[in-house]
Structures are given as C-alpha cells and as structure tokens.
C-alpha cells in the first residue's frame, strides 16, 4: 500500500490532466456523456473500434498468457456507495475474476481526461460483453473521486447514459474523507485546481490512470491516458484470467491433493 500523500498533488501532463480553462462551469450530465461520445467518436479510426484491426493501434498486443504481469501494488477492497446509495464493495471479486478500475469525476470536461477514460471503458464494455469467456469474469469499475458532488444519483445518471452491456459498476463515496484511503491505495492524485489568481475553479487536476486488479487485490498493471487501447487492456485481463485458470486447475489436479 502507498503512504498517504502529503502536501499538494501534482498537475498532470498535457493530455492527461482533467480541468479546462478557469472559470468554466462544471458540465451537466448530458454534456459529459456528449464529451464521452465525442472522445469515443474521435477515436473511431483512432481507437474506438478497438476490436478490429483499424482501431488505430500500430501494433498487435502480445498474445494473452504469453507474458507476465507481476504484482505492482496491493490495494484493499474498501466499501463505497453504489448508484442506489447502498454500500458496495470497490472490487468484490470472486476467484476467477479481474477488475479494471478507473477514477473519474463528473465535472471533468477535458476530452483527453475523464471523458476519454469513460470512452475507453465503454469500448471495453462492448468488447468484454461480446465474448462469452470474458463476460462475468472481467468487471469494469468507475469510481468518482469527487464524492461531494458526484452523489449516487449522479453516478446512476452516468450509468444510465452509458448503458453498460456487461458488469460495469459505478461507485462513489459517502464523503471526500471516505474516498481518500482508496486514492492513497492506488496512488491516484487529486488536487483542487485554482485559477491563476488563486480563485477556486471547482475543477480537479489529476493524472488520468486506470488499474487492472486481481481478486487478491494485487494491481497487475497501470494505464495512463493516451495508452488506453482496449485490445491491450483485454489482453492483460485475459493474461491474468489464464493464470488463475492454470493455478486453479493445478490445485484441483489429483496429484496436487
């Protein structure tokens, strides 16, 4: 686990920072969904059709199971809030599952930030739902790091707008204090963004990241904005699932008893 962050948190890179020009109002739900759609649309021919050869990716991901993803970090499965306001686990994974976890906030309308991440998750949802062997084993999780404004009903709105086909969960926390340990676990930085004159903007700056997590809570890969190619993420998820299958098969084999 990571130590708690102390002091101010960093500004992200061009293209990975969420937070548009100072003074802009947070967008309405429809605006964010539009931004997601635009991000996905901008990726068409450059990333949206990740299940095809013309997804813009200039390489084929290595074959699932042909490479290793050693644990990078370990996170706790903490209790958050589901879109119905009821307590819900962050991961809640069974022994043959993995989760792809993304942190976002609804107020973000930097197309290269949270909308791009949600667009990537939308593509992932489509890919995973289309494959019988993955459906039910790959869980997508979207967590708001702005729980003061992203109340459960706003996450429910987001879920409805994105219309998941598979196991895609939308979570928030009771309050900002409750989300802090989760962010610290994952090393996800978040910092209120002020205008150049110091006035608050209501925006949050952060490095856009996503995480592949196994049932033990081990983080098996970390992804940055700009590197959210769905085919790569699916290959990674499959790699961990194959590893689980092999381990469970070995444990169940007669000679192992």
């Amino acid at each position: 686990m990571r130590p708690p962050h102390r002091g101010p948190l960093p500004v992200s890179a061009p293209g990975t920072r969420c937070g548009p020009a100072a003074g802009r109002r947070a967008p309405r739900a429809a605006a964010l969904v539009l931004a997601v759609a635009l991000a996905a649309g901008a990726g068409a021919g450059a990333g949206a059709r990740a299940d095809t050869a013309d997804d813009g990716l200039r390489f084929d991901p290595p074959a699932p199971g042909s490479y290793a993803l050693p644990p990078i970090d370990r996170v706790r499965d903490r209790t958050l809030l589901g879109p119905d306001g009821a307590p819900a686990p962050l991961l809640g994974l069974g022994p043959r599952q993995v989760a792809l976890v993304a942190f976002v906030y609804r107020g973000c309308h930097d197309g290269a930030g949270c909308p791009a991440l949600l667009a990537a998750w939308k593509r992932l949802d489509t890919l995973v739902a289309a494959r019988d062997e993955l459906r039910g084993r790959v869980r997508l999780v979207t967590v708001s790091f702005d729980p003061a404004r992203d109340r459960p009903e706003r996450m429910a709105e987001l879920a409805a707008a994105l219309a998941p086909r598979g196991d895609w969960r939308f979570l928030t926390a009771p309050d900002p204090e409750a989300i802090r340990p989760v962010l610290d676990d994952f090393g996800q930085d978040v910092l209120p963004l002020a205008a150049a004159d110091g006035a608050p903007t209501g925006l949050l700056q952060h490095v856009t990241k996503a995480f592949l997590v196994d049932p033990a809570g081990d983080v098996r890969n970390v992804y940055s904005a700009g590197f959210l190619a769905a085919r790569v993420l699916v290959a990674d998820a499959e790699t961990v699932l194959l590893e689980q299958d092999r381990a469970l098969a070995a444990a169940e084999a007669p000679e192992a008893r």
Binding site: A13, P14, G19, R58, D189, S224, G226
Partner: protein
C-alpha cells in the same frame, strides 16, 4: 504546436490532446525536456529549477554526493544560483536518475554502491527532501549492479543496470520497482546482447530500445589506465536490442559497434526512428523501423575526428525532431546536427563548452540548453582540465549563446552530472501562467 511524446496514436489525436492541454493550462503547451518518458507529465512552460545530481569530491564541502537545486527562471533572484543542496552521505558514483510517473519523486542512482536515493520534489520544488534510500537493489534484483537509467512507466520505475554482482562484467538486466519502492521484477538482457546502458520506450509502437556500455570492472577504473588495457577495452557493448515493450521480450539484436550509449526516439507522429551515438567509434547511428515492422541500425555520421577519441557521451533531440545536440567529453564540445533528414545528419553548429563536457539537456521549446561537466569520477580529467560546471545557453536555431554558469568546483559542490527540470506550477494546483516570451536572459 508540438506533440509531447511518441505516445500519440494518431496525429489527429495528438492535436486534440494538445488542444485540450492548452485549454487546461490557459497557456502555451510547448516547453520542456523532450527526452523524458512519454508517461511522464511534462513541464509545459519555463522551468523553475534544475536538479543536478552531483558526485562528491573528497575535501569539497562534506565530500558527499548531493542533489543540487539551481534556479533557472529568468528575472528571479535565484536565477543562475544554487537554491538548495541535499547531501546523501558518502560517495556512490552519482550518475543518472529520473522522475516517477506522477513527477512527485526523483529517483537518483549510484553506480558504485548501487544505492538509490528517492527525493520528494513535490512538497517544496525548491528544496527537495531525501525521503527514502534503497540499499538492497543488488539483492532484490538478483544480482544487478549499477542502476543507470531511471525511466518512468505507469506506476513503476524501469531501471537499466550496467553490471552484475557475479563478475562485475557487462552482463546485466532491466529492473522494475513500484513507485512506492516495492520490487517488481528483473528482466535480464539476452545472451547475444548481455550489456546494458540506456532504455527508452516508444509506446506508440510498443517497442523499447536498450543500448550497451560496459561493466563495473571497467567503469570504475581510471580511464587512462583502462584505455591501455587492450583486453579490458574489448569488454564494451556493441549491440542494441529491440524489445516488445508490453511483454518485455527481446525481438531483435542490432549490431552497433563501439558502445552505443544514450537513446532518443523521435517524437513526432510517424517518425519511427531513434538516434544514438557510439562512445568508442564516435558515430551517430539511427535505428529505423522498416516496412515489415522490424528495425535496422544505420551508421549516419562521424562526430569530430574519431582518431582523437572525442567520446560522445550524451545527446538531446529537440521536440520537433529537427536538431540533435551531441556532447563529446574529451574535446569539451557541443555539436548540433540538423536531422530534418534523419538519415543525413548535417552539422550546423559547433561550440567549445569547456575542458570537458558530459550531459546536455534542452527545454521543450529548445530555447534553453544546459550542460554539465562530469562523466565518471575516475574518467574526469585531472589538474586544470578538471573543470566542474553547469553552463546554461540560449539556442536560437543557429548558435548557442552563454546565459549563466556555476562553478561547481569553486563552490565546493562536486562533479555535476545529470540534470532534471523542476517546476512550481506542477504542484501548486493552479492554472499555469503564461511563460515569459524570452527563454534565457542573455549574458548572465
């Protein structure tokens, strides 16, 4: 507007990201160190500080290796001055280092002790704090020695070794640590190309390049003595390896004679090539992607007079892929090549920097170029030629013009080596202010 790395999937996407960034920053998104990892947040305006990793010298101050922070923002009181200095205690052959992917920490390595020093640069960018020291790199990595390049990848630090604990030779590996210091894995270089030096990723192509130097038995010896030892001089690398980055698997071994050192991928979309220089043969090489997706290494140019062993040690490629700066240690010279035609580098400027020169770093907009003097404690020159400095220059596309210099010997700081850029704006949670129009104050 420049794109900031080779990471962008398409030119269209790059433009869109750059636009988003400019909106977010309310200022220009074009300034900073082009050679940093594509996964690393970039300083997008005038840098405030240089973090200079400095070898200790017995009798100079406390004699220890230290991280020296220098003010480099024109117009401020600390411009061209040492702002702070953090001693790590002892001499470890301070060499290279780099930021974590969130740019909160700066990891700096020692080639002799293999210790790794982790500095918090986010809490107070003017005064980095030593927050952690790794002393088990050799043990945890399974015998890798000499942590050299520190390259940020998501959630982790990718470190190239130079040597091994078994025989002190050049067989070595790539080592990964999580940002919090947890060991992740070791990947040894292939048997047909066991030497290591630099490591750089082109995420757009899922390709990684490693280069090759020599083992600890050589790099810790005095240079004049080493060069007289014909057998020892045979034990330098002459290969580069092309890897599947995502799988961490070697794909191709390229023959590049003469110890290829620093590697720089071109940054612009569809510029599918990289440059390196060879220390012993004084050549510029290009590594070009072919139509079939494999790579070829091509000798491109001769640097100075190889008979005089100029010893090219560092390179810096501008963010528009136009100019390649090459510093050569023995003649203390910087040469600038126009590499607009990457297979036909053209020498366009040459300037003596000092009696010896090693590292060269330029800002993202290419207007400011910084040089330091030290190569290795036992390879630096002796007597009056043992100049130790940080020198800043302005670059106008035609010539280098002096801006300021700091005498690290006169200030009893040590032998300055690698430089990393620091910025207050990265950590203060403010929409960035516009960068000053002029890059470097003249004649400082």
């Amino acid at each position: 507007m420049s794109t900031c790395s080779p990471i962008r999937i398409t030119a269209g996407r790059a433009a869109r990201l750059a636009l988003a960034a400019s909106l977010a920053l309310a200022g220009p998104a074009a300034a900073d160190e082009p050679c940093q990892s594509p996964y690393l947040p970039k300083v997008t305006a005038q840098e405030d500080y240089l973090y200079v990793w400095t070898l200790g010298v017995e009798g100079w101050g406390d004699g220890s290796d230290k991280l020296v922070t220098v003010g480099v923002r024109p117009g401020r009181d600390d411009y061209g001055k040492v702002v702070s200095s953090v001693s790590v205690g002892g001499r470890h052959e301070a060499h290279h280092g780099g930021f974590t992917d969130d740019r909160r920490q700066l990891w700096m390595g020692g080639l002799d002790s293999s210790a790794i020093f982790v500095f918090d640069v986010a809490s107070d960018p003017a005064r980095p704090k030593l927050v952690r020291t790794h002393t088990k790199f050799v043990e945890e990595s399974g015998g890798v020695v000499g942590p050299h390049t520190f390259y940020a990848i998501p959630g982790r630090m990718l470190i190239s070794g130079l040597s091994n604990a078994t025989d002190g030779g050049g067989k070595t590996a790539l080592v990964e640590y999580a940002n919090d210091g947890r060991f992740v894995r070791t990947v040894w270089l292939p048997d047909d190309a066991p030497y290591g030096y630099d490591v750089r990723v082109n995420a757009n192509l899922n390709r990684m390049l490693t280069s090759s130097f020599t083992g600890k038995k050589n790099y810790m010896r005095p240079l004049p003595e080493l060069m007289q030892d014909a057998e020892a001089m045979k034990r330098f690398g002459d290969t580069m390896v092309v890897w599947d980055y995502h799988a961490r698997k070697p794909l191709q071994t390229l023959k590049v004679p003469g110890a290829p050192l620093e590697v720089r991928w071109a940054l612009q979309p569809r510029h599918d090539w990289a440059f390196t220089t060879t220390a012993l043969t004084s050549k510029i090489w290009g590594v070009f992607r072919k139509d079939d997706g494999s790579f070829e290494a091509v000798e491109l140019a001769t640097i100075g007079d190889p008979a005089k062993i100029p010893l090219p040690v560092d390179i810096s490629l501008s963010s528009d892929d136009r100019f390649l700066f090459v510093s050569t240690f023995n003649d203390g010279t910087a040469r600038v090549y126009d590499v607009f035609q990457p297979r036909q580098p053209k020498l366009v400027h040459e300037r003596k920097i000092g009696a010896q020169v090693n590292m060269v770093s330029q800002s993202w907009d290419g207007r400011r170029v910084y040089f330091t003097s030290s190569l290795l404690a036992n390879w630096d020159k002796a007597g009056a030629e043992n100049e130790q400095f940080l020198k800043a220059f302005a670059w106008d596309g035609k010539a280098l013009t002096p801006a300021f210099s700091i005498d690290f010997a006169g200030e009893k700081l040590g032998r300055p080596h690698i430089m990393n850029f620091g910025s207050e704006a990265l950590y203060r949670g403010r929409v960035a202010e516009r960068a000053p129009a002029a890059g470097v104050a003249e004649g400082g």
